[in-house]
């Protein structure tokens, strides 16, 4: 019984990791690659670690596996967000078939602060300055 659950869990984990690897090779754009790999790889790693916890069935191993999974689930979105933000500032291009870039012109060039005003058009900024700046 435990053996079959280990087999099923590790097979699904390996398949999800393979999907992440195919995604990072085949996707046309950095942002699509990031979104494909982060989610699938986290799920695959979690399943394989759970299968090793089922195999050993000791408290020490289970708590270790739990710690690793919690750490991965906490840190994977943070790391993906930071590298995506940095790549947007560097100027990594979107896929040419992308429909919309909602962040376009909303970051200040020098300070990297996100504003809802359009900083590409100076006249618009002056017009909007009647609203006091939120600090």
């Amino acid at each position: 019984m435990a053996e079959w659950s280990i087999i099923i869990l590790s097979a699904f984990g390996a398949v999800f990791i393979l999907l992440a690897a195919i995604g990072i090779v085949r996707m046309p754009d950095f942002y699509l690659r990031l979104s494909a790999t982060t989610k699938a790889a986290t799920l695959g790693i979690g399943l394989i670690l759970v299968s090793s916890a089922v195999y050993f069935q000791e408290l020490s191993v289970t708590s270790r596996v739990f710690a690793i999974i919690c750490f991965l689930i906490l840190t994977a979105p943070v790391a993906a967000h930071m590298i995506g933000r940095a790549s947007y500032f560097i100027g990594t291009e979107l896929w040419k078939k992308s429909v919309i870039d909602e962040l376009e012109g909303k970051y200040e060039k020098d300070t990297h602060i996100l504003r809802s005003k359009d900083h590409k058009d100076p006249s618009k900024v002056i017009a909007d300055d009647k609203i006091p700046d939120e600090e």
Binding site: I6, F30, R33, L34, L49, S52, T75, A86, I90
Partner: protein, 91 residues
Amino acid sequence: MNLYNFLYFFVLPILSLSVMLVFVRFIKGPSIVDRVIALDLLITIGIAIIAVYSIITNQSTFLDIAMILALIAFLGTVAFSYYLEKREKNG
């Protein structure tokens, strides 16, 4: 079907195939951020291989290494993105 045979002949080949695929992206990635996420994914697949290997060899001590690798992957990605953003600001 034996569990060890399954791990040897199904799970480990799939994981090594995905390592090879990610390595292709690591070699040819057009920009540096592609290489950073490929490196992150390589280390993450390394954690999975360590977990499978700890089942095969019946040694649960290997999972400590997996925890440290998870830490290193996160710190590496955060450091890369921090310095990439800083380089863009100054240059």
